[in-house]
Symmetry: C2
């Protein structure tokens, strides 16, 4: 039985070490005015930005650039749109981590609009974006968010009334995703760790989502396989190993495709509320909460009797995969769920993931975090006490 | 290790029994002039066409229709384009088997051009299509070609100088694919059988292709699993079983996605040459040649020593899947390759697939067939004698 499902567009994907250079031929199809959305200093430091500028000059392509530091805010996007609206852009290119890719995606979607991005953010404004945009190419330099393959841009305003919400439309999937593992090798260990856990979280949450389908399931399984085999080594002795970096880049890309089509769960519900209230990197929130959240989900699924069977089975399949077992054996569900939870706890230690307390979160903050947290497509209902317990254990 | 790969866009997929009706809301986004490309009489007979016309009237959408009988020829496409070029179409919708879907795709791509489609066909004309088209929605009524997810339209001219060649561009992937298994239940057994074998051929040829990648592999494996479990029953006692029809519709859809990204092999090489020379349904050619072609490929891969290992392993994985075994066991490659070939031979019998002789092909035709046959992305080189042997055994 194949149940009903929807699957949205994926970008044209160009994957492989050294494939960054194919960018220039693609640009030729999109007019003579290009905006680069880039991160802080790493592109400059690596000499990549020099390469880009000289190629643009050689090809007589007029280009602008904007540098994004930190996670994009509504006012940052609005200002960028105002600055570049009259430039007759034919193409926007985002090169960086998830924040940069999301910023570029948001600018490409807002440059044809005259009002603030706030009006279109889910749960913030009340306008619906119609999907019109300028063509967009996403080029990740971390392996984590999968934003190069998603249809949403996450916009953050940190503070007591803060939020971390999405601009979303099927048509916002980037036109091209160029995934070049060479761009990731210089990513420092702590970011590699947090991003790797973010990718794994996205794969796992999409896999156990009630909205998963055969296409997302089969892709997520493949992504999980690649990430579980490399997440520890790429943080350690294989940080400059192209094979390990390729596998993580693949897992991250796939995590974007599956989250866009199956949704996410409680970890990303918490990442949204915590990320709106506190200045803390998205990957760190996900990574630090994944083991505890999975443990809680398994516990509640076990208590849900028959209703929980599907969710438990899926967690068990992932546990079995991690243990090196095949897909269709007669699984000991309870045992392999434990394998999964214990592995995630071990990874949390091995990757030295910060606790939330490191970012100033204290016990009295928990109430307001829980109040703002949505379950999203979590495989089982959790009550506020459950959510509180997850957070308490990682402060 | 994840090697370099490209993955082109997939359509927005809407999959599920009864999902056809979502078409009408989608149409609203694409202006007021719509062209329906449909097949022979089955839409009329089922009452579906009445439903469509009354919905169009109710929503004040101006619509035209063109009926396609048989596989589309260049002159059919050119005439259709001429007839509808001035109608200011905002959308084209193809509802039917592979021929109809391909015809609609070709019209949507040619309506903005002023010359003949022949100029743009691979191996026939020398112009390169630039991908400009009118938005296109593909709605299959058979489970076979996967054309609802591919970037090419196959155009046929039958005769001594005939051809069966593609108009191809990444942007020709339909904007939407609505896959509604309810539309397939009335498909007669012989067409169900031929189409099912076409889908399986596409999945298998893409899976063993040297251009396969982790994304196509994982999807093809999932498609093969669904098709192998239902291909016989849907031809027989489960022809009106929605679950079986859903699984085949899923397999067919996936076959289109993977062939568009990994390519096809000798069976489709032969389908192209034979289909250009003789009037014989595409699915029948594929179905009748699959077992013999796979047997030959396995034989040549076994003789290729180390070079053949990857191809043999992939055939063995499919054989093991058919035998109900999991993915990552220590496979007896030779044994499971035999399982695969024997199963395909059994299916050929059980599905009563016609031999080529039924369509007037005689031994003296073989020379010219072989001469016109390309290997495409076959996993191993075959010489003309090998190809001859495949055809001889199915005359």
């Amino acid at each position: 039985m194949v149940s009903n499902f929807r699957f949205a567009s994926v970008p044209n994907i160009i994957f492989g070490a050294g494939k960054f250079s194919e960018l220039y031929d693609i640009i030729a199809n999109f007019g003579k005015n290009v905006l680069y959305v880039i991160g802080g200093s790493s592109l400059n430091a690596s000499g990549k930005w020099d390469e880009i500028t000289s190629e643009m000059l050689r090809r007589s392509i007029n280009f602008y650039s904007i540098s994004i530091a930190g996670e994009p805010t509504p006012s940052l996007i609005d200002k960028a749109v105002k600055k570049f609206r009259q430039k007759n852009l034919g193409l926007i290119i985002g090169i960086g981590g998830g924040s940069v890719i999301d910023a570029g995606k948001a600018i490409s979607a807002m440059i044809l609009k005259s009002d603030s991005i706030k009006e279109y953010l889910e749960g913030v404004g009340d306008k619906i974006h119609n999907g019109e945009k300028i063509p967009y190419i996403a080029i990740p330099t971390t392996s984590g968010t999968g934003s190069e393959a998603t249809k949403n841009a996450v916009i953050t305003e940190v503070g007591p009334e803060g939020f971390k919400k999405s601009l979303r439309h099927d048509n916002l999937v980037p036109n091209y995703a160029i995934v070049d593992p060479k761009l990731v090798v210089s990513c420092p260990p702590s970011i590699t760790a947090a991003c790797g856990m973010d990718a794994f979280t996205q794969l796992l949450e999409a896999y156990v989502s009630p909205h998963s389908n055969p296409v997302t399931d089969t892709l997520a399984y493949s992504g999980i396989k690649h990430v579980k085999e490399n997440i520890i080594s790429v943080y350690g002795h294989k940080s400059s190993d192209f094979n390990a970096r390729s596998a993580m880049a693949y897992g991250s890309l796939i995590s974007g495709i599956v989250l866009a089509n199956a949704g996410l769960g409680i970890v990303h519900g918490l990442a949204s509320s915590i990320g709106g209230l506190f200045n803390i990197p998205h990957g760190t929130v996900c990574g630090t909460l994944l083991a505890e959240s999975t443990k809680m989900n398994v516990k509640r699924l076990e208590q849900a009797d028959r209703d929980g069977e599907r969710g438990l089975m899926k967690y068990a399949i992932v546990g079995a995969l991690i243990a090196g077992k095949g897909y269709e054996v007669n699984l000991d569900v309870s045992y392999y769920c434990s394998v999964l939870v214990e592995t995630l706890e071990m990874w949390t230690e091995q990757l030295n993931l910060d606790t939330l307390g490191k970012y100033g979160i204290i016990p009295k903050d928990i109430e307001k975090i829980v109040k703002k947290t949505q379950l999203k497509n979590n495989p089982v209902n959790l009550n506020p006490e459950d959510i509180k317990e997850i957070v308490v254990n990682r402060i």
